[in-house]
């Protein structure tokens, strides 16, 4: 650890000690872990320290981790020392550093690829005469062998280092990854060739070793470039909102840190600038929301509409924004959190593929030894050639890449269309979905409801009941709560209790109130509106009539779901009349109104019990249970954070057309994964016998293995293109 790192550790230790003094839980420490490469490294890491710390969130893509020490557990310095001794190469990072830590590693990888390609070409040039009749002059032939030695040794040592170090780490942990056969074949080929260079006789394998490294690194580069798309987006999101904002204070504009903004502040945003936090615009304006949604065309927001942190004001004049949430609760920060969580999670299907690859590696080592033993009767040269060919040809790279490359490509394509994938392996379930359960308010209709009617009771005035209702709903993000935002008085209710699907209860001016779905028939009720009732301990105090316009794209979305073969059902907590109106307008054959979260969950369970694969779409707190239990679930971005945390996909573009697209891409993913696994199995089964009987020279094995990996990655990358119908 360098001096700077030691100083950071000391400072962190001091802060942790202060935290402990206050009996508060220790805060998370961000680490770069350059020695973490795969799921097995992650397992080793968790085995090593997982039981003695509070939390560990690992991001395999950026090789970073957020580690929270346990109060009373081992010190941070002790943990870092253990990680260093185990070869994880930990470095302490600042809060915002994880997004830039990939840079040095990416540059080193690029340097290694270039060196490997230049070196391999040069070695093959020096080896070229030996491919034919050899060089008649023995002195020149010897000079060419020494030239191969001089180029190949540094190339294998430098460019092949990730495989050598990876194998050493794996063996120390007494596990097996594909790095082991790769490193073994590299060491064998290089060591035997070096010995023969000194000895002056026998064939050399420097060309095989350098070409193997160059092709392997190239395959890895394409695969990691596909995965890096998500990280690139993460970095852009983190950099999107500006660090300072122009807050309007009376007649003055003060520049303040974005962190200091609180809900209700008015902020001025100049043309070309990014919004610091989420807020409602006070005049119509155009925004570039491509960072959040992938949609590069400007979006027009009307007065009172919500605009999001990180969006650019692309209009010609400054706009005024009334902030909705603090900097840590913006839509971009929630997406950032979901992205980090998605990157930290290893899909179950990939874990299974890694396990299979582990066993396959063991089988390859055994077969290489068996092949060498059989060929030993024909001499040591033949035995070595067979062992090398089996090791190189059967490296399970294609098997390891088959699943993650497809999931990464699909995730990247969906992100570009405003669909954020938080659990990549659910794409496989989504491909099988046969029923879609959709929520109404905020999902099929726009998230923002309009307050159309206020019917005060018992002598109360409209202003009074509106103030009480807006106090109860302030701070909530359900579409009903947002309808009261315009009337927000600034004072929030206390002791607020939210009951999913039933309403909100709390104290305003010392009195208990409750607001929730109307339970009785209201005089003069307009059935086209959604009615909610404000009540106190004496009974109903007011009824509010809200309207929710259907999303423009909902018609086409339902039609496309139908064409994709899905049965669509509408489940809503709303009353029957508005539910029937929406179902009939959208031609949804089946709907159920007055649904509590338990009812929705029961319907989902019933469908699953009949063997159905069900996808659910929702946005509110009341949708969280059925989103969590669904085979695949989608959350709308304007909804509650809990719903988004439970969902497998978030439609960040706030448009429903991401739903059929995701199903379409998921079906393509399933097809590509099957093709890739079939290809990897077919390739390995065909080359293994050839390599074992000595019909496959090592250089051809290296080319074949690398080609098979490239085929798998290229097939996966096709997912990023729209499929031709």
């Amino acid at each position: 650890m360098n001096a700077e790192g030691a100083a950071q550790v000391a400072a962190l230790e001091a802060s942790l000690a202060t935290d402990r003094d206050k009996s508060a839980p220790p805060s998370a420490v961000h680490l770069a872990l350059d020695g973490v490469h795969c799921a097995r490294c992650e397992n080793r890491l968790r085995d090593l320290i997982g039981g003695r710390i509070a939390t560990l969130e690992l991001d395999l893509v950026s090789r970073t981790a957020a580690l929270t020490p346990r109060a009373g557990g081992p010190s941070l310095a002790q943990l870092l020392l253990e990680l260093k001794n185990a070869g994880f190469e930990p470095r302490v990072l600042g809060e915002d550093d994880p997004v830039v830590t990939m840079r040095p590693a990416r540059r080193r990888d690029m340097a290694r690829i270039g060196v490997a390609i230049i070196g391999a070409m040069q070695v093959m040039m020096f080896a070229w005469p030996s491919y034919f009749d050899g060089v008649p002059d023995p002195t020149i032939a010897s000079l060419m062998r020494w030239a191969q030695f001089a180029v190949a040794i540094p190339v294998v040592a430098y460019a092949g280092w990730p495989f050598l170090a990876g194998a050493a780490r794996t063996l120390r942990a007494r596990t097996l990854t594909m790095d082991v056969p790769v490193a073994l074949s590299l060491v064998m080929a290089t060591a035997v060739s070096a010995w023969r260079t000194f000895d002056g006789s026998g064939p050399l394998y420097f060309d095989t070793a350098t070409m193997f490294v160059a092709l392997l690194l190239t395959g890895r580069h394409f695969e990691s470039a596909t995965r890096a798309q998500a990280t690139q987006r993460l970095r852009q999101l983190a950099e999107g909102p500006p660090a300072t904002a122009r807050r309007i204070e009376g007649d003055e504009i003060c520049i303040v840190k974005t962190l200091l903004l609180s809900p209700g502040d008015r902020v001025s945003v100049a043309p070309g600038e990014a919004l610091p936090v989420d807020g409602q615009v006070e005049q119509p304006a155009e925004f570039d929301e491509s960072l959040l949604t992938g949609e590069s065309r400007p979006v027009t927001r009307a007065r009172g509409d919500t605009a999001f942190a990180g969006s650019l004001n692309v209009g010609a004049s400054p706009i005024v924004l009334r902030t909705l949430a603090g900097v840590g609760r913006t839509r971009s920060s929630e997406i950032l959190h979901l992205l980090r969580r998605a990157a930290a999670r290893k899909p179950a299907v990939q874990q299974r593929a890694d396990q299979v690859a582990g066993w396959f590696t063991l089988a390859v080592l055994v077969l290489a030894a068996a092949g060498a033993a059989l060929a030993a009767r024909s001499g040591a040269d033949a035995a070595l050639s067979v062992a090398l060919a089996v090791l190189v040809a059967s490296c399970p790279c294609a098997l390891s890449l088959a699943v993650p490359a497809c999931l990464a490509a699909a995730t990247s394509r969906l992100a570009a269309h405003g669909v954020l994938v938080t659990r990549a392996d659910r794409l496989l379930k989504l491909a099988q979905a046969d029923t879609a359960l959709l929520d109404k308010t905020g999902t099929l209709t726009h998230a923002r409801l309009h307050l159309d009617r206020i019917d005060p009771l018992r002598g109360a005035t409209a202003q009074q009941v509106l103030r009480i209702a807006s106090s109860l709903e302030s701070g909530l993000r359900h579409p009903i709560a947002l309808a009261f935002f315009a009337a927000a008085s600034g004072s929030a209710a206390t002791q607020v209790r939210v009951e999913a699907g039933r309403g909100v209860e709390g104290f305003v001016d010392g009195r208990r109130y409750r607001i929730g779905p109307a339970t009785e028939r209201i005089a003069g009720q307009d059935d086209a509106l959604t009615w909610i009732t404000l009540s106190d301990e004496q009974g109903s105090l007011a009824h509010f009539g809200l309207s929710a316009p259907v999303r423009d794209e909902a018609f086409e979305t339902i039609d496309r779901l139908d064409r994709l073969g899905l049965r669509v059902e509408l489940l809503t907590g709303d009353t029957t009349a508005p539910a029937r109106r929406i179902a009939s307008a959208l031609r949804i054959p089946k709907f159920a109104a007055g649904q509590t979260p338990e009812d929705k969950l029961a319907r989902l369970r019933a469908l699953q019990a009949q063997g159905g694969v069900v996808l659910c779409v929702g946005d509110g707190l009341n949708d969280a249970p059925f989103l969590a239990a669904a085979d695949a679930s989608f959350a709308m971005p304007g909804g509650s954070a809990v719903a988004q945390a439970r969902a497998d996909f978030v439609l960040v573009s706030d448009r429903l057309d991401g739903l059929p697209l995701a199903i379409d891409v998921a079906r393509q993913v399933r097809k590509r994964i099957r093709q890739n696994l079939a290809w990897a199995a077919l390739y390995n089964l065909s080359v293994l016998p050839l390599a074992m009987v000595g019909w496959l020279p090592p250089w051809l094995a290296a080319a074949g293995m690398s080609l098979s990996s490239l085929v798998v990655v290229a097939n996966a990358m096709r997912l990023r293109l729209p499929e031709k119908k």
Binding site: G114, V115, I118, Q122, M125, F126, I140, A147, P154
Partner: protein, 45 residues
């Protein structure tokens, strides 16, 4: 054939030189964000 006594070592030295230059360029970010340059305004000063 005598020229090979010079050309082969020269080939080794050249490839080592090129590899060194490539490593320096890559580690200094020469190959990063290749599509970004076109978006940057030219510096007139």
């Amino acid at each position: 054939m005598e020229s090979l006594y010079l050309l082969i070592p020269l080939g080794v030295v050249t490839v080592v030189g090129f590899a060194g230059i490539f490593i320096a360029a890559a580690l200094n970010g020469q190959f990063e964000e290749l599509d970004r340059q076109q978006l940057e305004l030219p510096d007139d000063e």
